[in-house]
Amino acid sequence: MNYNEQTTIAAISTAMSNSGIGIVRMTGEDSVEIADRIYRGKKNKKLSEQMSHTIHYGYICDGDEVIDEVLVMLMRGPHTYTGEDTVEINCHGGVYVVKKVLETVIKYGARPAEPGEFTKRAFLNGKMDLSQAEAVGDLITAQNEYALKSSVSQLKGNVKEKISNIRQKIIYHTAFIETALDDPEHISVDGYGEKLKVTVDELLGDIRHLLDTCDDGRILKEGVNTVILGKPNAGKSSLMNAFLGEDRAIVTDIAGTTRDVLEEHINLQGISLNIMDTAGIRDTEDIVEKIGVDKAINYAKDADLILFVIDASSELDENDIEILKMIQGKQAIILLNKSDLDMIVTKKVIENKVNELQPVNSSETENHNPIIEVSAKEKSGIAEFEQILKDMFYDGKLTFNDEIYITNVRQKTALQEAYRSLQKVNESIEMGMPEDFYSIDLLDAYESLGSITGETIGEDLVNEIFSKFCMGK
């Protein structure tokens, strides 16, 4: 559990979209020092030598590698949002660049901010009045709950399993060492280092592999969370296939083993979409459709984008209306499929329906979800769909969920920490340190990995000792 109140934290403070600029914000007592390590200004003047509340042009570098051309804003406490020294790095808005800058900041000493942490610091440093306290509390509770849910749910099933396996091994060996230390007359740990080293080497390999996975972006589903809704016969699958034509690559195929959704990660015009198609709907051809719709609605709740596929060749039914109702006020695109057949449902029909659904006194008529006629069979309307998608993205209507990305950085940092801790175990073994020193770093690794899967140490060690090893007396 990380309660480091004083360490320096960093986060991306703009939305993760391909907008004009992205800002990486860092606050805490070491933030200027960290900035000095990565910022190269004109005439090599260090940021720490500059006046407060000034802006500077230069580069963010990781050693010799230039990451981005930036504007850096230096603000010393207490006159900052958090009350602590703060550095804001304005970089080019590309998602990749902003990520890279954040990673560099973390590599050089900051740690990823916890949800709501900037606001929390602002409050604790007396930057907000009492009336705001409650709101801050709510924010933290909500963001943490979301982060916890998302960090675990975003892990691919096998990643979680792999981490759990590593943790299992770590706690087993730690428990053995600890049992021997607690009961040296019954259990001897002499010469255990060699045996342990074999395991630690294996675990280092496993974590290395996970880190590589992390870098490939395969550990998490980054991208726009997209849910396809529609009746089974609306042609969702064929439409998906149409989107995924030869020139469009399927990045990964992550059919979950534990979840009843089929997911596909596709890239359209440089925009990543995680498309979730509820398996429930697929499999309910012969079951009451209502069940499928309920399920879809659940998935759609947290989605960034909803694609609603309607069979234009048949009348709207209750289910369609219900979905229409649900997507009001959300980012959605309505796709009228089977436009190659006689169109019973037209744009006009939908528009009228939507107007009916809207509260009488509502003036928001212009905020309609776009409606496109498409045909999976004739592959028509796809270009128009892609254009709309792009517009939404660049208008900022469509964003990545920031938290997903931040979570990824946190997880990567945690993996790196675990890796370093295990390396220290090996160093201790090689140096011939006594066995009790191994447990210190083993437990650190255990805790770091636990932060990824949302598990804390608690009584794990004591329980493992008692359940696996026979104590004397």
Binding site: L124, G137, I465, K473
Partner: protein, 636 residues
């Protein structure tokens, strides 16, 4: 059982503190109060059983040795008494890091008990009284006195409950059940009901002890002899090491075998645990032999330590084979062990059940949250072990005294002492078995070593008033010497000259390629501060009575500096949350953003600090953030 008095009359003597029970917790508690100037009376069901060791004949052991040292550093008695009455001593884990070195002594049980009793008897302000306490008297949730079984009332301002395993205790083996305390002593059957009426939540725990066997019936030639250390280290910082170099008694090692396990397995249905006759929760760390055989079925033998109970008796303790099997099975089982073929059992093994409390009803000072002036310590709080008891005893005693002095309680936190870890766990975590100290429970164990207990706690003992000026001055001197010597050694250069290289070679270390410092060399695993003396020209002479201790500290502090600094940094973070106190009158319902589960847990526990709150299961980091914000806003 509800108590009703035939006649009630009041003792007109005035007391400040009444301690109920004179076991290891009661003794330390009573001594602390009396030594701090308060009129103290300690009640026991039997004066002959003061400081009784009803189970294993040892003091100390892994992490427990730390506790004894800490009790001593605070000004307690256990370490001094065992130094006078031990018959064998060992430093455990000597080949491991200094954090897990742990002293364990075999005690002469009778001598220990007798010596402690004399300390109590001769202590100014302290009275001993043989009686069973049946009632705690209170007015407006404040302690006013205690009532004896005879009906007599003693008025006092504070009560310390140290009832050990005596509350409604029941000893069981096979189908035999006796309502007695340990060793057939009288149990205390009325107090539980009184406590329940005071709103105290009770648990029922269980523990057990092995048989005692007549030494003359044992064939030691079939066992391995276990000797004590050649150079004995005392427990107490006040004991002169030269005074404890005694002729030591031996212990003996033998093993159970398949035959033993067969006998046990075939008779499991006759065990009161398996038949459901015992309902209490037993400790996982000290399993009975039947538990071991069932749980670790793949092990074909278990160690058995035969340990003397004292020099003045032939009884031998059979370590590793506690049991509650019927008497005939006990005979068969013990006699299947090599060397015990003709064993005569003097006392049967038994399991014991007793009433104790849910420790979460206590403040970190060991005072009950809901009753002012009522303190408790030891097995009554759900712990196990003599040392755990003594550690709580001295803290409860000190804090009862401080309450009477109108001072803030002395609270040791997890970064200061094993005692702090012990008490924090007891008052914070829900436990369903007797709690035993373990080094793995201490997060900062590299800082909480047995060798530096005095540096950690003697200053506190001095402030409290249990450590005299002379001892305090000695500590200050020692600390100064250590500090200066570390500073010197860090900067003491050595060249790659002939003398240095030869010494390094002799010590099995690689020769220097260029100059180095003494400190750098100490950090090599194969070298120590002492070994480098011949090449450390400027090394000062320390006063004789401190030389050994200073050298040890310098060696450890330099050798493990990296790890020690790391843990000190963690402690800084930890302290920040510990220091954020939560006011007693906080209304968790008003902290809007807390999750419902957290509100429930926090209301139930009423933690004293944010740090303690963060260790309650069911309270998340986000809840802690919310609490911090609430406290920052409302109580600023």
């Amino acid at each position: 059982m509800k108590y009703s008095a035939n006649s009630v009359w009041e003792n007109k003597d005035q007391y400040d503190v009444a301690v109920i029970g004179a076991g290891h917790a009661g003794c330390e508690a009573a001594l602390a109060c009396a030594r701090l100037g308060f009129r103290t009376i300690v009640f026991t069901v039997s004066v002959d059983s003061i400081a009784l060791m009803p189970c294993n004949p040892n003091i100390g052991g892994s992490s427990k040795g730390h506790l004894v040292k800490e009790v001593d550093a605070l000004g307690g008695e256990m370490g001094k008494v065992i130094d006078q009455t031990f018959i064998q001593s060992k430093m455990l884990n000597k080949s491991k890091g200094p954090a897990v070195h742990s002293l364990r002594a075999q005690a002469d049980k009778n001598e220990y008990s007798k010596t402690m009793r004399q300390v109590l008897e001769n202590q100014e302000n302290l009275e001993i009284k043989q009686a069973e306490i049946v009632n705690i008297l209170t007015e407006n949730d404040e302690v006013t006195g205690v009532q004896l079984y005879s009906g007599m009332i003693y008025r006092c301002k504070a009560v310390i409950l140290c009832t050990g395993t005596y509350l409604k205790s029941r000893c069981v083996y096979g189908d035999v059940s006796m309502s007695t305390g340990p060793n057939g002593l009288q149990s205390a059957n009325y107090l539980t009901d009184c406590l329940k009426e005071l709103g105290i939540k009770m648990y029922r725990f269980k523990t057990g002890t092995p048989a005692r066997i007549d030494k003359n019936s044992i064939d030691f030639s079939k066992m391995e002899e276990q000797f004590g250390d050649e150079r004995i280290v005392p427990f107490s910082f006040t004991t002169n090491p030269n005074d404890v170099q005694i002729d030591q008694a031996s212990c003996w090692l033998t093993y159970t075998n398949e035959e033993t396990h067969r006998i046990i397995r075939e008779n499991l249905d006759r065990s009161p645990l398996y038949s459901g006759m015992i309902e209490g929760t037993g400790p996982r760390y000290c399993p009975s032999i039947e538990d071991k055989v069932v749980k670790f079925a793949d092990k074909n033998r278990h160690q058995v330590f035969i340990e003397p109970e004292g020099l003045g008796t032939n009884e031998m303790y059979v370590g590793g084979m506690s049991s509650s099997l019927p008497e005939d099975v006990q005979y068969a089982m013990y006699r299947s062990v090599p060397g015990l073929e003709n064993a005569k059992i003097v006392r049967n093994a038994y399991a014991i059940e007793y009433d104790c409390i849910d420790g979460r009803q206590l403040k970190p000072s060991l005072e009950f949250k809901n009753i002012h002036g009522l303190f408790s310590a030891g097995q009554f709080n759900g712990s196990s072990g003599y040392e755990e008891a003594a550690a709580q005893g001295i803290v409860a005693g000190i804090n009862a005294a401080r309450m009477l002095q109108g001072k803030e309680p002395m609270i040791l936190d997890r970064s200061e002492a094993y005692i702090g870890v012990l008490i924090d766990d007891i008052v914070t975590k829900e436990s369903h078995e007797p709690y035993r100290m373990m080094t793995s429970r201490a997060e900062y164990r590299l800082l909480l070593r047995q060798d530096n207990a005095d540096q950690r706690l003697t200053k506190k003992g001095y402030e409290v008033g249990l450590i005299n000026e002379e001892r305090y001055q000695r500590l200050l001197k020692k600390e100064e010497l250590i500090k200066n010597e570390i500073e010197r050694v860090e900067h003491a250069n050595v060249g790659a000259n002939e003398k240095v290289q030869t010494l390094l070679k002799e010590c099995g270390s690689t020769p220097l390629s260029s100059g180095s410092t003494i400190a750098e060399l100490i950090r090599r695993p194969e070298l120590t501060y002492d070994m480098l003396k011949p090449i450390d020209d400027a090394r000062p002479d320390f006063p004789k009575n401190l030389a050994e201790e200073v050298a040890e500290q310098v060696n450890i502090c330099i050798k493990y500096a990296g790890y020690i600094t790391r843990q000190m940094r963690q402690v800084e973070q930890f302290k920040k949350l510990e220091r954020k106190k939560i006011p007693d009158d906080i209304d968790y319902d008003k902290v809007n953003s807390l999750r419902i589960e957290a509100i429930q847990k926090l209301k139930e526990h009423r933690p004293a600090s944010i740090g303690q709150a963060s260790r309650i299961s069911g309270v998340s980091p986000a809840d802690i953030s919310v609490l911090l914000i609430y406290l920052g806003g409302v109580y600023k």
